[in-house]
C-alpha cells in the first residue's frame, strides 16, 4: 500500500455497490418497472397519435383557441405566431412529438406532485422527508440518472418521459407545499369555525387560495421538462431534441438551429398559456372563465335571450348602492 498516494485505492466501492443494486433490480424486478411504464405509455401514445395524426392546421387552430380562452387575444396571437414559425421551419412533426412528451410529463407530475405537496404542507414530518429527496432530484446532474433509467426502463420516448418526470417534479411539489402553507391561518380558521371538515377546507379554501402559487409551480415544471428535451434525446427520445442532437453530431448547424428555435417557440407558447391559467379569475374582471374568450362568445350568444335579467345583473351591479354609498364612502 502506498501512503503517499493513499487515495489511489478505491476504499469505499460505491460504484460497485450501485452496480450490484441496479443489476439485482434489473434481474429480479424487471416486471415492476415494465408495469410502471404502462400508464406513461398509454397517455403518451394517445397524445402523440392525436397530435401528429390530426391535420396540422386543425392543431394550430385548437392551440389558438385554447390560448384565447386561457389568456385572451394577445396570448392567442403570440402562441399562434410561435407555432406558425415552427410549422414554416419544417419542424412541426418533431414539435408535436416533443409537445406530447412534455404534456404527458406534466400530467404525471401533477398527478404525483399535488398530493405530495399537499401532504407536505399538512405535516412538518412529511416535509422533512420530502425536502431532501427533492434536493437530491434537483442537484444530481440529469445525465447521471439516464443510465439507471435506461437499464430499468430501456430506451425510447416512454423512458424519456420518465427521466423528464423525475427532473421536472420538484418545483411543483415545492410550490404546492409553499402555496398551501402561505394561506392565511385565519382563512382556514374561519372555514373550520363554520363547520367545514378538513377535506372541505382544503378544496374550498386552501387550494383555491394557493392556486396562483401552484400554477407557478406547474409553469416551472413545464419549463424544466422542456429544458430536458435535448438531454433526453440521448436515450433515443424523438422530437425537437433529436434534431439538435443530430445537428451537433453531424456539425450540421442548420439542423441544430431549427431544433433549438423550435424548442424556444414551443416554450413561448406553453409558457404564455400556462401562465395565464395561473391568474385567478378575479383578474379577468370577475367573470367565470366560460364567460370570456371563445367560449364566452358562444355562451354569450346562447345565454343572452334567456338570462338577460340574471346575467346582466351579475355583471353590472352598481358599485355605489343607495345605502352604502352614503354611510361608508
Amino acid at each position: 500500500m502506498d501512503i503517499w498516494n493513499i487515495f489511489d485505492t478505491e476504499w469505499v466501492p460505491v460504484g460497485t455497490w450501485i452496480d450490484q443494486v441496479l443489476n439485482w433490480l434489473v434481474s429480479d424486478f424487471r416486471f415492476v418497472f415494465q408495469a410502471i411504464k404502462v400508464p406513461f405509455d398509454i397517455v403518451l401514445s394517445a397524445l402523440e397519435d392525436g397530435l401528429t395524426g390530426a391535420p396540422d392546421l386543425l392543431i394550430l387552430g385548437l392551440i389558438a383557441l385554447i390560448a384565447w380562452q386561457a389568456g385572451g387575444r394577445r396570448v392567442a396571437v403570440v402562441s399562434t405566431l410561435a407555432m406558425l414559425a415552427i410549422g414554416l421551419m419544417g419542424a412541426w412533426e418533431e414539435s408535436m412529438t416533443t409537445l406530447s412528451i412534455v404534456l404527458t410529463c406534466v400530467f404525471f407530475c401533477a398527478l404525483a406532485g399535488l398530493p405530495i405537496g399537499i401532504a407536505a404542507a399538512r405535516s412538518d414530518r412529511v416535509w422533512n422527508w420530502v425536502r431532501p429527496a427533492l434536493d437530491l432530484m434537483q442537484t444530481i446532474p440529469s445525465f447521471v440518472y439516464l443510465v439507471p433509467v435506461v437499464m430499468l426502463f430501456s430506451i425510447g420516448n416512454v423512458s424519456g418521459v420518465i427521466v423528464t418526470f423525475i427532473y421536472a417534479l420538484p418545483p411543483l411539489v415545492r410550490l404546492t407545499n409553499l402555496g398551501i402553507r402561505q394561506v392565511r391561518p385565519d382563512m382556514v380558521e374561519a372555514a373550520r369555525a363554520f363547520g367545514a371538515t378538513k377535506k372541505q377546507t382544503l378544496w374550498k379554501i386552501e387550494l383555491p387560495l394557493a392556486m396562483p402559487t401552484i400554477m407557478a409551480g406547474v409553469n416551472q415544471t413545464i419549463m424544466m421538462a422542456l429544458s430536458m428535451v435535448v438531454v433526453a434525446s440521448m436515450i433515443s427520445v424523438t422530437g425537437l431534441g433529436q434534431m439538435v442532437l443530430r445537428g451537433i453530431g453531424r456539425l450540421d448547424m442548420g439542423l441544430a438551429s431549427v431544433g433549438g428555435l423550435g424548442i424556444v417557440f414551443l416554450a413561448i407558447m406553453i409558457d404564455r398559456i400556462s401562465q395565464s391559467l395561473g391568474q385567478p379569475s378575479r383578474e379577468r374582471g370577475h367573470q367565470h372563465w366560460y364567460r370570456t374568450g371563445p367560449l364566452g362568445v358562444v355562451t354569450g350568444f346562447f345565454a343572452r335571450p334567456a338570462t338577460t335579467g340574471q346575467g346582466k345583473e351579475t355583471a353590472a351591479t352598481p358599485p355605489n348602492s343607495k345605502t352604502d354609498g352614503k354611510t361608508q364612502a
Binding site: 392565511r184 385565519d186 382563512m187 380558521e189 374561519a190 372555514a191 373550520r192 369555525a193 363554520f194 363547520g195 367545514a196 371538515t197 372541505q200 374550498k204 379554501i205 383555491p208 387560495l209 385567478p280 379569475s281 378575479r282 370577475h286 345583473e313 351579475t314 351591479t317 352598481p318 358599485p319 348602492s321 343607495k322 345605502t323 352604502d324 354611510t327 361608508q328 364612502a329
Partner: protein, 354 residues
C-alpha cells in the same frame, strides 16, 4: 359568586345558562400536561411556566356562564387570552383541562362530526380581521356554513341574500370582499355569522379594526339587532368603553385569568382589585354611582329637598347645577343621609367616601 347573585346580574334576562366554561386551562407547548400539573400544584406564574416548561399560558382556570340572550363581554389587554378563551367555545382550540358546555352538551368531548354540525348550525363567529375569503363572492361567503352542510344551492343563496339584505348589503351580493370598505366587510362577517340562524354568536374584537365613527355605527346596529334577535353573544374587546356599551355583563381578563365578572356597574363601582380599579379609573362614573353610595349617613334634621337612594350621580349633579343646597337621600320614606356638592364632585373624581 353565588347562583342567586348571578341570576340578579343577568339583568332581567333569562337565567338559563346557554354556554358555560368550567375550570378551563390552556397551555401551548409540547409539555402542556406536565406544565398544567406543576402550575396547579405550585401556583406558577405565566413567566415561571414559560421558563420551566417552555409552554405559553393562554388561559388559566377560567369559569363563567353566559345566559340565554345576553351579551357577555370579555375584556382585557392584548395577549390576555381573550381569543384563546373564546375559541374553546366552538373548540377551534382544545382545552388542556376543563369542561365546556353548550345548552347542556359537552363540547370538549364531542366527536368531529357533532362538532362540525354544532359549528355550522348553532354557533356563528365574527373575526377581528374579518377573515373573508378573497375568492368568494359575498353570497358564496355568507352561504359557506350552509354549503358545507349540503344545503342545496338555490336555498342557500336565498338565505345568504336575506342575511346580506339584513345587513344592508343587498346590492353587493355578487361582489368580492375587497371591493368593500372595512365597515361593510365586517357587516359581511356578521351576515355570515347570522346566515344559518345560530343560537350563539362569538365575536372576537369584531369592531376593533374599524375607525371610530364606523365602529360606533356598527355597535349601534349590532345592539339593535341583538335586541331583536336575542342571540346569546360572547363579545370580545380590549376597549372598556365598548364593553360597557355592549355588555350585559363583563368579564375582565389579565394574563389568562378572569379577574372579575359582573355588570358594568359592579365593575366600575366595586373593582375587585387594583388592576381592575386602574382600568375603570377613567370611566365617567356619572351613570353608575348612586346617591346612597356617596351620601354621608346622617340622622339629623333633613335638608329641604330629597332624592331617591338609587338616583345616579349624573342626575344629582344636574340638580346641584340649579341649587347647591345639600340633598336628603330617601328610601321607602326614610331619610338615609344627605349628599353635598362636595360629595358629588369627589365621587365624580373617582374618590368615593362611604
Amino acid at each position: 359568586m353565588s347562583g342567586q347573585e348571578q341570576q340578579k346580574n343577568a339583568g332581567g334576562r333569562s337565567s338559563v345558562a346557554r354556554v358555560a366554561c368550567k375550570g378551563v386551562w390552556k397551555l401551548f407547548g409540547d409539555r402542556a400536561d406536565e406544565a398544567l400539573e406543576a402550575a396547579r400544584a405550585e401556583n406558577l406564574s405565566k413567566d415561571e411556566i414559560r421558563e420551566r416548561f417552555d409552554c405559553v399560558l393562554g388561559v388559566r382556570d377560567a369559569s363563567f356562564e353566559v345566559y340565554e340572550g345576553e351579551i357577555f363581554c370579555i375584556m382585557g389587554l392584548s395577549g390576555s387570552g381573550k381569543s384563546t378563551l373564546v375559541r374553546h367555545i366552538n373548540r377551534l382550540i382544545d382545552p388542556t383541562a376543563g369542561e365546556i358546555h353548550i345548552a347542556g352538551d359537552r363540547v370538549d368531548t364531542m366527536d368531529e362530526a357533532a362538532l362540525n354540525a354544532l359549528r355550522a348550525e348553532k354557533i356563528g363567529m365574527v373575526f377581528q380581521h374579518m377573515a373573508l375569503w378573497p375568492h368568494r363572492t359575498l353570497a358564496e361567503t355568507v352561504a359557506f356554513g350552509l354549503e358545507v352542510r349540503g344545503v342545496p344551492k338555490a336555498e342557500r343563496r336565498k338565505k345568504a341574500i336575506a342575511a346580506l339584505n339584513d345587513m344592508e348589503l343587498g346590492d353587493w351580493v355578487d361582489s368580492y370582499p375587497d371591493e368593500l370598505s372595512g365597515g361593510m366587510q365586517q357587516r359581511v362577517g356578521l351576515a355570515r355569522a347570522l346566515a344559518a340562524d345560530p343560537d350563539i354568536l362569538l365575536m372576537d374584537e369584531p369592531f376593533s379594526a374599524l375607525d371610530p365613527l364606523i365602529r360606533r355605527q356598527l355597535q349601534d346596529q349590532f345592539l339593535d339587532l341583538s335586541r331583536k334577535l336575542g342571540k346569546t353573544t360572547i363579545f370580545i374587546t380590549h376597549d372598556l368603553d365598548e364593553a360597557i356599551r355592549m355588555g350585559d355583563r363583563i368579564a375582565i381578563m389579565k394574563d389568562g385569568v378572569i379577574v372579575q365578572t359582573g355588570t358594568a356597574e359592579e365593575i366600575v363601582t366595586a373593582p375587585a382589585n387594583d388592576y381592575v380599579a386602574a382600568f375603570v379609573d377613567n370611566v365617567p362614573k356619572g351613570g353608575f354611582v348612586t346617591a346612597d353610595q356617596i351620601m354621608e349617613p346622617a340622622t339629623g334634621t333633613p335638608p329641604g329637598r330629597s332624592i331617591a337612594a338609587d338616583t345616579p350621580l349624573d342626575e344629582i349633579l344636574a340638580t346641584f347645577a340649579e341649587d347647591q343646597a345639600p340633598l336628603a337621600v330617601e328610601k321607602d320614606g326614610n331619610t338615609l343621609g344627605h349628599v353635598t356638592v362636595g360629595d358629588a364632585l369627589q365621587a365624580l373624581g373617582g374618590k368615593e367616601d362611604t
